[in-house]
Every structure is written in structure tokens, then in C-alpha cells.
């Protein structure tokens, strides 16, 4: 088989990888903001829940989280009489998103805390509510700070999607393994796959750079 013949099945797998990456990164971003802000909440319960989420998902292996959602959760559900079987795509997106969200939450928290205290004082002097100070003053300054670490996490997430092939999801890594079993042509297949992951990572990096410029437009204004 010529290497071009691998492209069709591999591209089909790459498309699944793209979808997994996009959905789980969006889920992760939502979780990151929710729990990153939650960790700074004056409300003890919200803070405790946020800390628990962050520590649990940062402190356990992504692979185990994935297996737990896909294999263990349905059995646990059976015990209490609920059907908790998840389609592989849902389990994959959930595990990846929950994992990346925990790391992202720490990025969000750190960026918010790096906003100078004097900014909060100015907001208070103008009688903004704490909520208005957070969303109107602190977050718009913190978000551009979050973008470089978010970019790292997004690329990390793209590469982590390869793990979902272990729950028989037809992503790029899964297709590669299938082809290899069929043709024994490991070198060609894995070289093509390497370049495909690398190409996708470049796209993710470029997208995050664009986003970074977009959310920090005010920084680049010049006379």
C-alpha cells in the first residue's frame, strides 16, 4: 500500500480528534472560569466545591478518569437503578474537559489574583459592586494574562485525545492502530500520524494567538 492510501482513514480519525478537542476545550474553558472564580468566592461552600473539583481532577490520572466514566459509572449506575452508560464520545469529551478544566481553573484563579489591588480599590471608590468589579474591572485585565497558559493547555488537550482510542473511539490514534494491525507498516503510519498531530497543534497555537490578540486589543493601541 502506498502511504497516500492511508490518508483517507487517517483523516477520518483526525476529524474525530478535532471534534473531541474542540468540544472538550470549550467544556474545559467553561469549567475553568466557573471553578477558578469559585475558588476565590467568599462563600465557603462554593470555595470548597471548587477546591475539591480542582484537586481531584488534577490529582488523578486522565486515563483512570476516562475508564471510570466509561466502564465504572454504568455499573455504579446499575446499583442505584440508573442507566448511566455514556456513548464513547460523551465519556471522552467529559473526561478531557473535566481534566483540562481543573488545570484551567488554576490559571483563571492566578490571573485574577494578579490584578493589582489598586484596581479593586478604584472600583470600590466608584461604588461598583464586588460582582461588577470582578466582571467589569478584574476579568477583562486577567483574561489576556490567561491566554498563553490556556494555549499550552489546549495543545496538551489535543494530544491527550489519543487516550480515548482506548475506549474504542475512532480518533486519529485509533485509526492508526487499526491500520497498523492490518498492514504492519508501523513506520509510515506513525510518521504520517506524527505530522498530523503536529499540524493540528500548529493550528491550535495559531488560533490561541489570534484569540490572545483579540482579548487584549487595548494593550496594543498606540499613538
Amino acid at each position: 500500500m502506498a502511504w497516500t492510501e492511508y490518508l483517507t482513514p487517517l483523516l477520518a480519525g483526525a476529524w474525530v480528534t478535532v471534534q473531541l478537542t474542540v468540544y472538550s476545550t470549550i467544556l474545559g474553558a467553561i469549567l475553568a472560569f466557573a471553578f477558578g472564580i469559585g475558588k476565590l468566592s467568599p462563600n465557603g461552600l462554593i470555595k470548597a466545591v471548587s477546591v475539591a473539583y480542582i484537586e481531584i481532577f488534577r490529582g488523578t490520572s486522565l486515563l483512570v478518569q476516562l475508564f471510570w466514566l466509561y466502564f465504572a459509572l454504568p455499573i455504579a449506575g446499575q446499583v442505584i437503578g440508573l442507566d448511566l452508560r455514556l456513548p464513547p464520545v460523551v465519556a471522552g469529551v467529559l473526561a478531557l474537559g473535566l481534566n483540562i478544566g481543573a488545570y484551567g481553573a488554576e490559571v483563571v484563579r492566578g490571573a485574577i489574583q494578579s490584578v493589582q489591588k489598586s484596581q479593586y480599590e478604584a472600583a470600590r471608590a466608584l461604588n461598583f459592586t464586588p460582582r461588577q468589579a470582578l466582571f467589569g474591572v478584574a476579568l477583562p485585565q486577567a483574561i489576556p494574562e490567561m491566554m498563553p497558559p490556556f494555549g499550552n493547555l489546549a495543545v496538551q488537550n489535543l494530544k491527550d485525545t489519543a487516550l480515548v482510542s482506548l475506549i474504542s473511539l475512532g480518533d486519529l490514534a485509533f485509526r492508526a492502530e487499526q491500520l497498523r494491525n492490518f498492514t504492519q507498516d508501523s513506520t509510515t503510519i506513525y510518521t504520517v500520524v506524527l505530522f498530523m498531530y503536529f499540524g493540528m497543534a500548529l493550528v491550535v497555537t495559531a488560533l490561541m494567538k489570534t484569540l490572545e490578540r483579540l482579548v487584549g486589543r487595548w494593550r496594543y493601541a498606540s499613538n
Partner: protein
């Protein structure tokens, strides 16, 4: 009904064993322009920060317009105030900060208009109009669409003044407004403050090291030392004929510098 808009009644404030305000008694009349001078650590900035509700107090009562600032009446007793009361009281005060503290992600216009929209409930259009009038007043009408980092320090501080005025406070607090500026930019900021002082019946409280300026604009100068007022009087009295040795030493030190 007294004509005092601000009154400190035996106010104490300490950090651990360090007393920043030590049983301070201090009153300001409606419309009065008062300058606070004194060595660093004498509690002069703390007076402004307590009024702006950026720092709490440990003892005594602060009144703004006859109402306790940090306390609420509850069954005839004074209890620590809740956020609702603080918000209502804060409405009467505006503050200009040493480091300007403008919002870097907002244009100059938005810096000024944001609080009137979000806090006072003005329409964006009315708030922008108000912002532009104020920019005219501080001589920056052509800078409305710039971001703070595109302006000089003196221009930024004038925006800071406009931003505080946009909330229509009854009392303006200036916390060393020119201390962070290059010497050649001090004048433009002082001019704006001086005009404000002469053209409005606004009550003004100013912490500064600009002695000549203090002399020109203020009705009264207070010399702070160790968390209390050591000496006060008209600028004429205090600068030409200080009674206290401590005041003389301080004035000699800063005027010789």
C-alpha cells in the same frame, strides 16, 4: 444640624501595635478646602482611605453629613455597617489616587462613563455626554478615545479627577495626586485642582507635599503627626507662624528640600 460634612470623633485605627490614627478628632465644613500635611506614617492618607471605605476603623465614629459612615443605628445603638449602608455613604465621596488607578482596558471616555452607567444607572449616551463635558473641563476633550497607557502621567491624573467627578460626589478626596508625576507634569494637575477649588462649592480634602499649592488653595491646613492633628490653622498662620516645634521642624525640612 451642624454644618460639618465630615467629622472624626476619637477615631482609632491600628495595625497590630502600630497606631495609625490615635483618637483623631477632625472636622470639615461643607464647601471647605482642607489640606493635610505631615511626615509619612502620620496617618494622613489613612484619613482619606477611611473616608473612602477602603480601610476600616478600630475605634470612634466617623460621620459624613451627620450620618455615621462605618456604623448603622440599630435600636439606638451603633453597630458596624453593612455593605448596603456603605454603598449609600460612598456615593457622597470621590477619590483621586496617587497612582491614578485608571482602568487600563477602557478608553478614557469609558473610564469616566462606566460607573455612572453601572452604578448610577445613566444611559450610555448621557454618561458619555457627562464624560465629554468633564474631559473638556480638564482640558482633554481630544483624548476621549485613547487608552490610559497612551497618555502622560499628568493627563492620566486629570482623567482620574474627571472620573471621580462624574459620580457627582459632595466631597472630593485627593491622595497625593501629584506625587507619582514627573516635576514638569505637576503643574497641569494642580491647575485643574485649583480651578475646581475656586469654581465649585465642593468640599475638598487634599493630602499633598506641594506646600506652595496647599497655601494657595486651602482654607485650612492641618499638620498631622503620629495619628493626630498636631496643629492646624489658615495657611497664613501655619506656614508663616507655626506654634509647635514639630510643625516648624517639618516645614523647615520640606521647604529646604
Amino acid at each position: 444640624m451642624s454644618d460639618h460634612i465630615i467629622k472624626f470623633d476619637k477615631v482609632g485605627k491600628s495595625y497590630g501595635s502600630l497606631k495609625v490614627l490615635d483618637g483623631l478628632d477632625f472636622e470639615v465644613k461643607r464647601g471647605e478646602k482642607v489640606t493635610i500635611i505631615g511626615p509619612s506614617g502620620s496617618g494622613k492618607s489613612t484619613v482619606l482611605r477611611v473616608l473612602m471605605t477602603l480601610e476600616t476603623i478600630n475605634a470612634g465614629v466617623v460621620y459624613v453629613g451627620n450620618e455615621p459612615l462605618w456604623h448603622e443605628q440599630c435600636n439606638g445603638a451603633l453597630v458596624p455597617a453593612g455593605e448596603g449602608h456603605l454603598r449609600k455613604m460612598r456615593q457622597q465621596l470621590g477619590m483621586v489616587f496617587q497612582q491614578f488607578n485608571l482602568f487600563p482596558h477602557m478608553t478614557v471616555r469609558r473610564n469616566i462613563a462606566e460607573a455612572p452607567v453601572k452604578v448610577l444607572g445613566l444611559s450610555r449616551q448621557d454618561a458619555n455626554l457627562r464624560a465629554e463635558e468633564l474631559l473638556e473641563m480638564v482640558g482633554l476633550a481630544d483624548q476621549a478615545d485613547k487608552y490610559p497607557h497612551q497618555l502622560s502621567g499628568g493627563q492620566q491624573q486629570r482623567v482620574g479627577i474627571a472620573r471621580a467627578l462624574a459620580m457627582r460626589p459632595k466631597v472630593m478626596l485627593f491622595d497625593e495626586p501629584t506625587s507619582a508625576l514627573d516635576p514638569e507634569l505637576v503643574g497641569e494637575v494642580l491647575n485643574v485642582i485649583a480651578r475646581l477649588a475656586s469654581e465649585h462649592d465642593l468640599t475638598m480634602l487634599l493630602v499633598t507635599h506641594e506646600m506652595r499649592f496647599a497655601r494657595e488653595v486651602s482654607d485650612r491646613v492641618c499638620f498631622f503627626d503620629k495619628g493626630r492633628i498636631k496643629e492646624q490653622g489658615t495657611p497664613e498662620e501655619l506656614f508663616t507662624d507655626p506654634k509647635e516645634q514639630r510643625t516648624r521642624d517639618f516645614l523647615k525640612a520640606v521647604l529646604d528640600a
